[in-house]
Amino acid sequence: MSRFFSLSLFLSLLLLFAGPLYAAANNQPDANYQLGAGDKLSITVFNQEDLSGEYTINGSGRFTMPFIDKIQAAGLTIPDLIELIIGKLKPDYLLNPRVSIEVLNFRPYYIIGEVSSPGAYPFVEGITYLNAVAIAGGFSYRARQKYVMVKRKDDDAEGKEVKLKLNSFVLPGDIIRVTERLF
């Protein structure tokens, strides 16, 4: 009996942390990544095919799951969202829900200002601001090439614009502004 209990405990612990560990091996963001509008999630509820599926966070930061209805996900980390979903499923619908979440598509980043092709571009993990400028067609002849101004939305608040070097990493949802130089 105690042997069975130990094995069960071990498997439970394994399943509890399987989501994030599995996610890391598949190039998923770290645990501090905050979800936002535009992120497309794959949510798996163990043994519940009706609840599992792909969900996209809408412009107001929410998505809808069966039984639970609207879930406010923007601003939450993945562990926070897992915990929220578990809290909503338990105990009315499931006794011991097992939830894992994977980000299928990150929300795009935006680049404006002195680049050849400003616009929205799909986020790719690990790109720097210099990579982002190159993807947007390169600097214009008037661009300031030593830094960029970046705005990030925190939760539902308007983010502050900060000056970042070109070798810093882009995050999904970044609004990157390449400024104009005078000399």
């Binding site: 002849y141 008037r142 104009e180 130089r181 005078l182 000399f183």
Partner: protein, 440 residues
């Protein structure tokens, strides 16, 4: 005639502010949201510009501070006149121009018409209306071969600073016209270019004529300027060889004749002459960072009269544009030419000019320009021991704000000063001009 062309490329007469030389556009500023698109009619593009402004000049007559301040003087024949002293005035200026360019695949026809009007608030004698019209064309025969032609006319006021339009009397008086001397400059030319592979050969025949109107001087006497009327037929040939892409060497030779309508001028001097000029130089374009032309050579002008001192000199010239950044261009110019003169003791003068123009695109719609130039005029004296040289320095600033693709405004300032061996020919002048313009 070269100096006349230099004046023609600047704007206005008393309000010749801004650059002395033609400045190329910053390479990267072309084709942005503020570039005029022109009017496309048939196979031609037209680029009209109209500018209206207010100008100020603190020394309209270009006189030194030492000129006699008396109101009335008595002339040598007993006539009386009001003395022209250093005076300032404001004027309303209107400029208009239309450039025409063909968009044909083969051949080309281009034109430029300009108009420059000024009305002074007090010194109405200085009101001016300057006009020019020019056409140039290219007839392609086959790849690399083409005939070229040009024709044009300009009518304008001679600058008050010109030593040919003013006569010192003693050390305190300058005698000149009640109104500026007016002249007309006409030109016509044909040429042929032949560019088989790396070799380039061209030949041109040009004919230029300049005619001056008579003027009444401050003593009410008629000044007959017909003795200044002259023609200048000239022939130029050039051979060039492209050493490598965007780098070529050339040799050029020119012969010319200056024929005055009158054999003797009002001082009894025979001024007709013949001359030649040879130069060797290089054209280059270094990665669009340094573009230009440098040359050295020799010129000689021989006068028909034995009493006139012939002029000969080494020649040097440069026209370079450097782009230190993509927002800034610096233009360097060096040139030397022989110019005609009406001085009784000189056959002509050697004019050497150096200039720099810095242009910066502060923002896409704010263009700042600064320029400086230095000219040394050495009069070739017929009288032993006599010296008459002058140094002219100029400095200018311009700020141009492009309100939209259609509208623009500019503020210009120019300071010019002349030092001369003849003290009464010296002056310092400051001019400002504020304009509002519209272009298509």
């Amino acid at each position: 005639m070269t100096k006349l062309r230099t004046i023609i490329t600047a704007a206005g007469v008393s309000f010749t502010v801004g650059t002395l030389f033609v400045v190329p556009q910053l390479a990267y500023s072309q084709g942005n949201d503020y570039t005029p698109l022109g009017i496309h009619k048939g196979s031609f593009y037209f680029f009209p510009v109209v500018e209206l402004g207010i100008g100020y000049d603190d020394n309209v007559f270009r006189l030194p501070d030492s000129v006699d301040g008396r109101d009335v003087i008595i002339g040598s024949d007993g006539s009386t006149a009001s003395v022209k002293t250093r005076q300032s005035d404001t004027a309303v200026i209107m400029r208009g121009s239309v450039a025409m360019n063909s968009d044909w695949n083969r051949h080309a026809l281009n034109g430029l018409a300009t108009m420059d009007l000024g009305k002074y608030s007090d010194l109405s004698s200085e009101d001016f209306g300057n006009y020019s019209l020019g056409l140039d064309g290219r007839l392609d025969v086959k790849r690399g071969n083409a005939f070229t032609s040009k024709i044009g006319t300009t009518t304008r006021n001679e600058s008050r600073s010109s030593v040919d339009s003013r006569e010192p009397e003693g050390n305190t008086l300058i005698v000149f016209g009640e109104e500026p001397t007016r002249y007309t400059f006409n030109y016509v030319g044909v040429g042929y270019k032949y560019n088989p592979a790396r070799l380039g050969v061209s030949a041109n025949l040009d004919y230029e004529a300049i005619n001056y109107d008579d003027v009444t001087n401050i003593f009410g006497q008629n000044v007959d300027n017909s003795d200044r009327n002259r023609t200048r037929p000239n022939a130029t040939a050039r051979i060039g060889y492209e050493l490598m892409p965007q780098r070529s060497l050339y040799i050029e030779g020119q012969v010319y004749n200056i024929d005055y309508d009158s054999q003797f001028d009002n001082n009894g001097i025979e001024r007709s002459s013949t001359g030649y000029k040879t130069t060797a130089g290089m054209n280059f374009d270094l990665s669009n960072l340094l573009v230009g032309d440098v040359f050295v050579g020799y010129l000689e002008q021989n006068y028909d009269s034995d009493t006139q001192a012939d002029i000969s000199s080494s020649l040097f010239g440069m026209g370079l544009t450097w782009f230190p950044t993509r927002l800034t261009s610096i233009d360097f110019r060096l040139d030397r030419n022989v110019e005609e003169s009406t001085e009784a003791t000189a056959s002509g003068y050697l004019s050497s000019t150096a200039g720099v123009v810095i242009k910066h695109e502060l923002k896409r719609n704010i263009i700042l320009t600064a320029d400086a130039d230095y000219t040394k005029n050495e009069f070739q004296q017929n009288v032993e021991g006599r010296k008459e040289n002058e140094n002219i320095t100029g400095f200018g600033l311009e700020g141009r704000y492009l309100i939209s693709r259609r509208w623009f405004t500019s503020l210009q300032y120019r300071r010019e000063s002349r030092e001369s061996d003849i003290a009464i020919q010296e002056y310092t002048d400051n001019r400002g001009l504020l304009t509002l313009g519209v272009n298509w």
